[in-house]
Amino acid sequence: MALSLLAGCAGGDDDAVKTLTIAVNAPFSRNPYVGETIARGVELGASRAGVIDTKDGRYRLEARRLDNALSPRRAVRNVRRAVTDDLVAIVDEGTGVDASWRLAEGADIPLAVTYQGGVGLVDADERPNVFRIAPNDRGIGYRLAEYLIPKGLKVALLTDDTGYGQEGRAMLARTFGQNPEAVATRVRVPAAAPDLAPQVLKARRAGATALLVWAQPATIAKVLTAARSSGWEVPVYTPPSGADPLVRQQLADNPGWVDGLTFASGRMTAELGPEAWYAFQSAFVARYGPDRVGVRTSNGDEVFQPPEYAMYSYDFVSVLAAALKEAGGAEDRSKLLDALEEVTVEGANGDERGFTIHNHEGVVDDDVYFARFDDMTFAPVKDDALSSTLPTISQIG
């Protein structure tokens, strides 16, 4: 017995666990909600992955926060730092990827975008080290067109002058381009203006029967305010930014104005059922506490925000862990990069996540559903094929 113990001790020295660091390049200072969500997803994923046994040794993953303050320059600097410090991967909010990806590619470091949906960011052929697990603008844009055009509405496309709005304007031009009769007018809206009544009035005068507002949450709130306050009960549709808590916070005094707001977003629950998602949500809430929106329902219940974007960064860490196993370790980075295109894992919500050599989008383009606000919480709509199959995720209590 003593001999076997000794043998065990001798073997133990070879099993030291190496720590691999994942950089989280996100706007922690400027948009802490987004930054924290992404980082927490990475941390949760790292702790779930635990110790990864591979051929080259045993690894543990950890997250390191690098603030990009929504500045492309800072984002590039962070990536440079990640390269110098030999980090294993970069989970990125998306700012500055156009400039920073090459630096990461030079060191064979994968860069995963888990928030921004701009289509130019990801290109499996040109940018072999850039991946995305998040709904992209093309998917959202096409689904919005697909959903709205058959309703026979005349949609006014309102976009603001932020980067997000500008990208949206370009995408909507494409997706609604084939159906000009569905577009009442296109209006550009100043994000900094206190009052958007003139722009909304312009849309109304153009005969719009629906508003599609692709803009930052603050702008969406202002549009709703302008429309509803003048008594115009026009339906309003938005991309995922409509789900941002700020919209509801701004309109907390008039919860009735939020009713009917419909947004497009990536599907949170799996087609198989919501159990896996609920498990993920519980784990997240257990570790970090619930994310208060700051408003209450008409019953007085506090409203919480589901950790949607945390799921995407969490899933990337799962893919990375699987790729580590497949590549046999982190010694050969190019092998690790290739392995990312070969593995498939079960995502947080039960869906399969994986990349191929030609497709670096982890979320299928049209895996987008629509949800409608009612009494400060949202639920999937019933008049869309995909959405009608999805359950309502609880946002209170």
Binding site: S71, T95, A99, Q166
Partner: protein, 608 residues
């Protein structure tokens, strides 16, 4: 065949330049060379954990700061727009590189574009008082930021315009290369700064910044000089921006905001505005602050992006509150040597040509008050005329009318038979009509020699900034001659021993003599002096009298507004008495002394 003389001339010029350079080389130069070598070797000896791209960015910042330092310290324009010019260079270079232009050329074009922007903004602000320069450049910086927001095509929108790194002079654009390039440019900029600051271009600029009125009185065309300085600073900023953006890899609109302008100005302030090294030291101090802020942020767990500005701003506040004028001057004062160099007193001031100034029927009203009524004067070469009268009798107004700075309501002033009305101050000084001011209007921060140089530089033909920079043979020869003339002017008033003393450290009457010396250095034909004897004691008065007599003997026409009757009696060939704006009497001292009206109105207890 004909090329041979040109060849030998060039060879002689080069040898002469080499001799000058060897003479100028001293311990300071060795120190500078050592520091430069140390800095250049830094990337190869520092541990790899040091971020080289951060060092390179700091070096580019230093380059922009040196440019700003020149405009602020020498040009006297507190510009808060340098960050915008850096941005102009960055945006221009970014776009050009995107279109395939080689990186170095793109940066140069960026510098040129920024320089044009500097001309545009500068054209408006060069005539302004410093406070309005600040206000205008502050608004210009914000306008640049708003314009970038309004035209996302310029900056690639919020994504930023990607700048693909290209080979610089066939070398891979690594952080090390950028660092060495930036370091080299900073060295060149420092040398240029020193060369320009000491040249007549720089001296005139500094004079205009310290006492604008006096400088104009000596014929300095401040706006044009300032425009050159401002545009030059903008171009240097643009160069720094055009190169730094290649290191960044992306044109980020937020990087060129008001905070960058503030950082650059703060660097210049902390390091010391009117010195070449000051901006560099300031940038290093700011970089050290950012590092400290980073460390603090990591220790307390706060977001580093927020801590930096707050820390920097707070520390600047404390630096300013302690009232230091900057690190470099404070250090320099500790180790200042009273270096007196050998001066060549050989040159004498040339005899001025004959000139006449005739004024007739001068009337001037200020609102209700009639300051000058029907005054006539006749100034001739080799004579001293004294203009006396009680306070408020209009003497200074008459002087201003004669000098041409104030247009008369009626009457005319003619110089050598030609009316003076349309001439600007600079033109008049060039014609040979110079006036000194009533208050102590020497340039306080310049040495006595530099004060005289301001006037002497008036007649330079090869005195421009570019020639000073390149130190062409003609420029150097002319500089020697101008310096000699300035020394002779100092000698003419007896200040040759005090040539290297800073003007504010001279005594009051020495400063007045210095004012006369500056005026003499412009080679005037007619000299208008405003109360040259104010505050002078017995011995000083004798000295002044001797100077005035000698000047008049050498052919100058002098008009002195004076209170001191004893001096007037000793020196004046003709006296004009003013009372309540009208001429009470004029003539020789004896004639005026005997005039009963003069006695009654003015003399009282004093007697001529």
């Amino acid at each position: 065949m004909s090329a041979l003389p040109a060849f030998t001339r060039t060879g002689a010029a080069v040898r002469e330049a080499g001799r000058d350079a060897r003479l100028a080389w001293g311990p300071g130069a060795w120190l500078a060379l050592a520091a430069f070598a140390l800095a250049a070797l830094a990337p190869f000896v520092l541990p790899s954990s040091v971020r080289l791209d951060g060092l390179a960015q700091t070096a580019y910042l230093a380059l922009a700061a040196v440019g700003l330092g020149f405009a602020v310290g020498i040009g006297g324009m507190p510009s808060v727009a340098q960050g915008a010019f850096v941005g102009v260079g960055a945006v221009a270079a970014g776009h050009l590189i995107g279109s395939g232009v080689p990186p170095l050329l793109a940066a140069l074009v960026g510098a040129l574009t920024a320089g044009c922007g500097g001309v545009l903004v500068g054209a408006a602000v060069v005539r302004f008082r410093p406070v309005f320069v600040v206000a205008a450049t502050w608004l210009a910086t914000w306008l640049f930021a708003f314009t970038l927001e309004a035209l996302p095509s310029l900056t690639g929108g919020a994504r930023g315009l990607t700048v693909a790194p290209g080979k610089i002079a066939r070398l891979e654009p690594t952080a090390t290369l950028h660092y060495e390039l930036a370091l080299g440019l900073v060295a060149v900029a420092l040398l240029a700064y020193r060369a320009l600051a000491g040249s007549s271009f720089g001296v005139r600029l500094r004079a205009a910044g310290q006492r604008p009125a006096a400088a104009v009185a000596l014929g300095v065309e401040a706006p044009r000089l300032r425009l050159a300085a401002f545009a030059g600073a903008a171009a240097v900023g643009g160069l720094a921006g055009g190169l730094a953006v290649q290191l960044d890899g992306v044109v980020d609109p937020e990087a060129y905001d008001a905070f960058l302008s503030f950082t650059l100005l703060v660097a210049v302030l902390i390091g010391g505005a009117a010195t070449a090294l000051g901006p560099v030291v300031g940038v290093l101090a700011v970089a050290a602050l950012s590092l400290a802020a980073d460390v603090l942020a990591r220790l307390t767990g706060a977001e580093s992006a927020r801590f930096g500005p707050m820390l920097a701003a707070l520390l600047v506040l404390s630096v300013l509150a302690t009232g230091s004028e900057g690190i470099v001057p404070a250090v320099a004062r500790r180790i200042r040597r009273a270096g007196r160099q050998e001066r060549d007193h050989g040159m004498e001031l040339r005899r001025p040509d004959a000139a006449t100034l005739t004024a007739g029927g001068l009337h001037k009203r200020f609102g209700e008050l009639v300051a000058v009524r029907d005054v006539a004067l006749d100034l001739r070469s080799s004579s001293v005329t004294a203009l006396i009268g009680p306070n408020g009798s209009g003497k200074t107004t008459v002087l201003r009318l004669l000098a041409g700075t104030l247009p008369p309501d009626e009457g005319s002033v003619e110089f050598d038979g030609r009316p003076l009305t349309a001439a600007s101050a600079g033109d008049r000084v060039e014609l040979g009509l110079v006036r000194t001011l009533q208050s102590n209007a020497v340039f306080p921060a310049l040495t006595a020699l530099e004060n005289a140089l301001v006037g002497a530089s008036l007649r330079r033909r090869y005195g421009g900034a570019l020639r000073a920079l390149l130190a062409t043979p003609k420029a150097r020869a002319e500089a020697r001659e101008t310096t000699a003339r300035a020394q002779a002017a100092l000698a003419a008033v007896g200040l040759q021993e005090r040539a290297d003393i800073v003007a504010q450290e001279l005594t009051g009457s020495e400063q007045r003599l210095l004012m006369i010396a500056s005026a003499l250095a412009t080679r005037p034909r007619i000299l208008l002096l405003d109360e040259p004897s104010a505050g002078a004691s017995g011995a000083e008065l004798q000295r002044l009298a001797a100077i005035l007599e000698r000047l008049s003997a050498e052919g100058l026409a002098v008009l002195a507004v004076e209170h001191n009757l004893r001096l007037v009696r000793t020196v004046a060939d003709e006296i004009v008495v003013l009372h309540a704006g009208t001429m009470l009497a004029s003539g020789t001292p004896e004639q005026v002394a005997g005039d009963p009206a003069v006695r009654a109105a003015y003399l009282g207890r004093q007697s001529l």
